[in-house]
Amino acid sequence: MTAGLAAATVAAADLSGRGGPGFLSPTGAEVAFVLIGLVVLGSALLVVTTSQIVHAALWLVVTLGGLAAEYLLLTAEFIAWVQVLIYIGAVVVLLLFGLMLTRAPIGRSTELDSLKRWPAVLVAVGATATLLTVVVDAFHSAYLDLGKTDDGSARVTGESLFRVWVLPFEVLSVLLLAALIGAIVLSRGRADADGKGR
């Protein structure tokens, strides 16, 4: 439904399209972007609807991988590999780890969705429609020229990161340390309270 709405608004934007080629003659990158985007959205939908909890995590892998590919198409190469490394290599593994520790069952679970599903649908669709309207209205004529640039290369990103954004970077490292310590404290606290482990 939302995809249809998006298509409609995109088509409408095409009529007034300024700057860049029209929507009806897409480039190869655009076609690839849309196709991968559909995969991403589909798998994301499965993440939030599947009744098998581990499958959700695996679909998440597909979503994140697809997004990495989208980053590549946007010429943000470094971001793409970081996405794979951190999200798939670390976050999803952690998630699976967590799922297994919380005794994720094989097969369908009945209680994954709350009873308030329809209000959630309503709110999500409302928010999406609002954002979509705003975004399409504002940017339907903006064109992203992905010519030969190395804006997304490791060198450029690294330079901006360590020249311009060094301070936030350092602050972030402190945050990570805090998160590390916090996670350790959280997982150990209970064991100490119980006495000799479990």
Partner: protein, 640 residues
């Protein structure tokens, strides 16, 4: 010279601060602290008065930081008037401190009492000396506060508390217009400096001068207990006797008259103000003399008499006799202080303040008898005593105004008012003074005297002796034009000289500077005096045990209660205010609080409704928040 004046003001202030800070811890030092700085002040004020002689104005001051359009100067303005009045104030204050050292000997709160007296003296001296109206106002209000505390010295008693609050409220009632009047004068003259204001009045008067002086009359009436704000003074007698003597006889109550004299050129230029002042004075004079006649309490008699005598001063001022009024202020300060201090000893002896319980005290303490006789004589205006001369001076000025006042003189009507009321009051004064004298000192004691608790302290007696001297002799200074009028200088502060008088360079006609008694008014006053005194004596002779006041008949009760002015106040002011307050309370409780309670109740109910949604499910909360966001965004987008 201004330095000496500032020092004279500062020393008691310092003593007060030290006394309030350390008096409780070092009670031994309190007595020295109370008297010694004040003694120095007395010397200084006298030095200032003598050095000043008859030179014009000496004024020095530092300007405070600019406060806006009109600057305030911290200045000392010494001229004849302020030098003499300051000397009077300081002297009486010192005597009272000395007297109090004995009178309040056993009082546990002596140190704070003495400090307050010192503070009061400092404030009064500030009022007298200062050359700036705003600074004067400061001293004025400090005096009021001190008066409040001193009247309420025996705050354990209900009466004292009520009297203190009453005195405070009533005088403040007058101070509000007084403040506005000060501001009007300041703005009108473009300065708060007294000199500038006095010089700034145009010859024919000015709107701002009339308005300002009229407003200031409120403060004058409040401080000097004139109609219609007179009722606080008799009640204030619940304070210690020295306080009554100091504040409520010699000094503070005279401040009202003093301020008028200080700004006299301004008042003189405002005919309307003078007429109002004259009406006020006439009413006060007669009525309070009548009330004094009806009183049974010794100090209340003296209080009403004070009110009456103050009316003489204000009356003199209204009728153009500034020098006469100041003359009366001086003599009155002396003899009324004497009378109060003597009354203190009498009460001390008799163990009661009720006249109906006294009698025959003549034999127990002859010194008191004689000094009090002198004081009463001066009060009544028996010829060679001081009161006679000052009173005649007032009446003489009034006569001049009434009969041959010319251009620049007050309206004739003020003169007539003051003469009629003054002569009538002379008779009434003689009547109540005679009644007091006879009932206290003669006849038999109507109540067995209490066991004499030791001899009367010497410290209490010698101020009486000291005060008797001016009581008897002070009238002399008015006899020669080169004495008191020359010392006082002209009303605008400039020096007075006979040559000036002859050339018409003075502010007023020469007759106003002549303080010698005049034949017509003297005869009339003395005749009525004799009539009043004789009538009372005759009544007393018929029945020494009965109160001569019975002659008032049905009038006596109301007169004793000051014509129930308090009840009038009650009906006119208090009750409407009460009703308004009650109405306000009703509106507040029912209407305004109704809204508040309804709002609270509504919030409570709404909260109860929202409470149901607080089921702990975070996702529901989040959904609500986001739904709200969507609605808001859509609303904004649609309206944009």
């Amino acid at each position: 010279m201004t330095t000496a004046a500032a020092l004279a003001t500062g020393l008691p202030f310092l003593a007060a601060v030290l006394g309030l800070a350390f008096g409780r811890r070092f009670p031994a030092a309190a007595r020295a602290l109370a008297t010694l700085p004040l003694a120095a002040s007395v010397l200084l004020t006298w030095a200032v008065a003598v050095r000043h002689d008859s030179g014009g104005v000496t004024e020095h001051g530092t300007e405070l930081t600019p406060t806006g359009a009109l600057d305030i100067t911290l200045s000392m303005r010494v001229d004849g008037l302020s030098a003499i009045v300051a000397a009077l104030v300081a002297t009486v204050a010192l005597l009272v401190q000395v007297y109090s050292a004995a009178y309040m000997r056993k009082d546990p709160r002596y140190s704070s009492y003495a400090a307050l007296i010192s503070l009061f003296s400092a404030a009064m001296l500030l009022v007298v000396y200062t050359g700036d109206l705003i600074v004067l106002l400061v001293g004025w209000e400090v005096m009021g506060v001190c008066s409040y505390f001193l009247i309420g010295h025996y705050w354990e008693t209900e009466v004292a508390r009520a009297a203190a609050v009453k005195a405070f409220l009533v005088t403040k009632l007058g101070d509000v217009p007084f403040l506005i009047g000060v501001l009007v004068l300041g703005v009108g003259a473009g300065s708060f400096r007294i000199g500038a204001i006095v010089d700034g009045v145009p010859p024919g008067g000015a709107g701002w001068a009339t308005a300002g002086t009229l407003l200031m009359l409120g403060g004058v009436a409040g401080k000097s207990a004139q109609v219609p704000l007179q009722t606080w003074l008799p009640d204030a007698m619940t304070g210690p006797t020295p306080v009554s003597a100091l504040i409520h006889a010699a000094t503070m109550v005279a401040a009202g008259a003093y301020v008028v004299a200080r700004l006299y050129p301004v008042f003189l230029a405002s005919d309307a103000t003078l007429v109002v002042l004259a009406v006020m004075a006439a009413l006060t004079m007669v009525s309070s003399a009548l009330f004094a006649f009806a009183q049974d309490d010794l100090k209340r008699v003296l209080a009403w008499s004070t009110v009456s005598q103050l009316a003489y001063m204000t009356g003199g001022l209204a009728a153009g006799g500034r020098d006469a009024a100041v003359f009366h202020l001086l003599t009155h300060g002396a003899f009324k202080a004497l009378l109060f201090l003597a009354a203190g000893v009498v009460i001390h002896l008799a163990g009661t303040g009720r006249i109906s319980d006294m009698g025959g005290l003549r034999r127990r303490e002859p010194l008191v008898f004689w000094t009090m006789t002198a004081g009463l004589g001066a009060l009544v205006g028996v010829p060679p005593l001081s009161g006679f001369f000052s009173k005649e001076a007032v009446l003489g000025a009034a006569e001049h105004t009434a009969i041959d006042g010319g251009a620049g003189a007050p309206p004739a009507v003020t003169g007539w008012l003051v003469i009629v009321a003054g002569v009538l009051t002379a008779g009434l004064t003689a009547a109540y003074a005679t009644r007091l004298w006879l009932r206290v000192f003669f006849g038999e004691a109507r109540k067995p005297a209490p066991e004499p608790h030791g001899p009367t302290p010497v410290l209490m007696l010698w101020p009486l002796a000291v005060l008797t001297v001016p009581t008897v002799l002070l009238g002399v200074i008015g006899l020669n034009e080169s004495w008191l009028p020359a010392w006082l200088g002209d009303a605008d502060g400039r020096a007075y000289g006979s040559a000036d008088a002859a050339n018409g360079l003075l502010l007023q006609a020469p007759a106003y500077y002549d303080l010698a008694p005049r034949l017509g008014t003297s005869l009339a006053a003395v005749a009525l005096l004799a009539l009043g005194a004789g009538a009372v004596y005759a009544l007393w002779r018929r029945d020494p045990a009965a109160d001569p006041a019975r002659v008032l008949g049905r009038l006596r009760g109301p007169a004793e209660r000051g014509f129930d002015v308090d009840r009038l106040y009650d009906a006119v002011v208090v009750r409407p205010v009460w009703l308004a307050a009650r109405a306000t309370r009703f509106v507040d409780r029912v209407v305004i609080d109704g809204y508040v309670h309804a709002a609270a109740q509504g919030t409570w109910l709404a909260g109860g409704g929202v409470r149901r949604s607080q089921n702990g499910n975070v996702q529901v909360y989040l959904a609500g928040v986001l739904a709200g966001f969507v609605v808001l965004a859509v609303t904004v987008a649609v309206r944009a």
